[in-house]
């Protein structure tokens, strides 16, 4: 546990040093947010509400999703892959710590730093530009924190799994690109899932991806309450556990197959 904490702290501190990159990322995220808000506003036209989502909620949605990009790394993450191809993986596997936990610790540090630097800043900028929705009451805030933690776990386990492809093939980048595009298409990142036809929503719900984005957004907007809210968090938890178990199994198989190149 102490090791986990130290690794997280280091990765947190490292993230704070990328000032120029953070600023560039912020400006880009905000720009795309404004663009997406304009598209939604044009779609709404004179309507006030579509499938229970008000225009105000739809605009807030674009802000929350843009704020989640850096936190959940939904556009892609190839660090484990890189370390396999550079040969670093050899020394990392020798460390007295589970390989999954080792990377998770670093990812938690990174995620907390980007959440503070980028996530909160984007929401603050949104609050200045638009009359956005803000969660109400201790219960909803608590639910939001839980949803964020679970979203990070699901996202990390998925990203880790995708990266493990590098244990099998020397060219896993294409697989990775494909996997990440798929994950943001089905996560509710592009448009709120409630807008989509039922059959598409059904497909999405068979995958873990809505747990990373859509659930967080719905909790934030207060679209889920009471039993629905608890059920949504429960489903998130189940996906997190399932994916973590799966990544342990795949990791075990992968380590037996691994061929170390370079180094």
């Amino acid at each position: 546990m102490r090791l986990f904490w130290e690794l997280s702290k280091l990765s947190f501190a490292r993230q704070l040093n990328y000032r120029a990159a953070t600023l560039a990322g912020l400006v880009t995220n905000l720009f795309f947010g404004l663009l997406r808000a304009a598209v939604l506003e044009a779609l709404y036209g004179s309507r006030e509400e579509v499938v229970g989502i008000s225009l105000q909620a739809a605009i807030t949605y674009t802000g929350v999703t843009q704020a989640l990009i850096a936190f959940t790394m939904i556009f892609g993450w190839y660090e484990v892959m890189d370390s396999v191809y550079s040969g670093e993986v050899a020394s990392d596997l020798l460390k007295p710590m589970n390989y999954f936990t080792f990377w998770l610790a670093r990812d938690v540090g990174r995620a907390v730093a980007t959440f503070l630097l980028r996530g909160l800043t984007i929401m603050a900028a949104y609050a200045l530009i638009f009359p956005i929705i803000v969660p109400q009451g201790a219960e909803q805030w608590l639910a939001l924190v839980v949803a964020l933690i679970l979203a990070l776990l699901v996202s990390f386990a998925w990203r880790f799994l995708v990266n493990l492809a590098a244990f099998w093939t020397p060219n896993a980048l294409g697989i990775g690109r494909f996997a990440f595009i798929l994950s943001w298409f089905l996560s509710g990142f592009l448009m709120p899932l409630r807008f989509f036809p039922d059959w598409f929503q059904a497909i999405c719900s068979l995958t873990p991806f809505p747990q990373v984005v859509n659930t967080v957004v719905e909790v934030y907007l207060g679209l889920l309450t009471g039993a629905d809210l608890l059920r949504a968090l429960g489903v998130q938890l189940l996906w997190a556990i399932g994916l973590i178990l799966a990544s342990q199994l795949v990791l075990r198989a992968g380590v037996r197959r691994l061929v170390i190149l370079g180094g």
Binding site: T28, L34, V39, L43, G45, L173, F178, F185, M191, F195
Partner: protein
């Protein structure tokens, strides 16, 4: 001129052979780029039934605009990858530009030939399909003028985006660091141009009219093809400024590029 063309084809040919060596990886990559384009438009298409229009435009009309921009951006991204600010910035940092400068050949031609990303074919095909869909769904009243003008507009868009890449690359002569904010103008600009421009706030639209003249390349030509009224009441001839603005941007960008080259100091690495 013929010599230069042969040289360019030679440079490109080497890369094509290289990229096609790893057939599966290439196909995966091309497919991923295609899916990326499809996913963006597909999401919009799937939710469109819940709404009637996008700022007064039908799905077919938006598809026309979207396809035009995607097709052109994809083509540019394949041809001008050598100038991709991120890639080029790296060349400057590593000093590999010096290597090109030492060769007795035009430097612009070498940079243009230094990278050719065939997997962008995925995006180009996808963009063409969306454009075709838009043409079929929004029944464009075709005339000889429109038939002749469409390829001109597409080429103008390619030149315009190419100009933006060249400008972004030029900037790295001074900054050395790759300037990620240029992504807003290139990738952000193309994304923004995929939707009718009247939906944006006035300051954004002004910026993309007067600072970066994007509106003359996508929105105004589209108004002409789709026979839509102009909400800003500019003269109808505005729809025909695309070639002037598109090729003009590229020519101007190459001029600035020349200035940048003269200013270039190697990083020494």
């Amino acid at each position: 001129m013929a010599k230069h063309l042969r040289l360019y084809l030679r440079l490109i040919g080497v890369q094509l052979r290289g990229q096609l060596q790893y057939r599966t990886a290439f196909l995966m990559d091309a497919l991923a780029t295609a899916v990326l384009t499809m996913v963006g438009f597909g999401s919009l298409a799937m939710i469109f039934q819940r709404f009637e229009n996008l700022g007064g435009w039908s799905l077919g009309e938006v598809a026309f605009l979207f396809g035009m921009v995607e097709f052109s951006f994809g083509t540019m991204d394949m041809l001008f990858s050598g100038f991709d600010p991120q890639h080029f910035g790296q060349q400057v940092r590593r000093g590999s530009l010096d290597q090109l400068l030492l060769r007795p050949l035009p430097i612009t031609l070498q940079v243009l030939g230094s990278k050719f990303v065939l997997r962008r074919v995925g995006r180009i095909v996808q963009g063409a399909l969306i454009l075709l869909l838009g043409i079929l769904a929004s029944d464009v009243g075709w005339s000889v003028g429109k038939l002749l003008y469409l390829p001109i507009v597409l080429m103008s868009l390619v030149s315009f985006f190419g100009g933006l890449f060249v400008l972004g690359a030029t900037l790295t002569f001074w900054t050395v660091e790759s300037v990620e904010v240029t992504n807003i103008f290139t990738y952000g600009g193309s994304e923004m141009m995929s939707y009718p421009m009247h939906i944006y706030d006035e300051w954004i639209r002004r910026f993309f009219t007067f600072v970066i003249p994007a509106i003359f390349l996508n929105y105004y030509p589209a108004l002409y093809f789709l026979d839509k009224p102009d909400p800003f009441d500019l003269p109808p001839s505005t729809s025909f400024l695309a070639p002037l603005v598109g090729f003009g941007t590229l020519v101007l960008a190459l001029k600035v590029w020349d200035v940048g080259l003269r200013h270039y100091q190697s990083t020494g690495s």
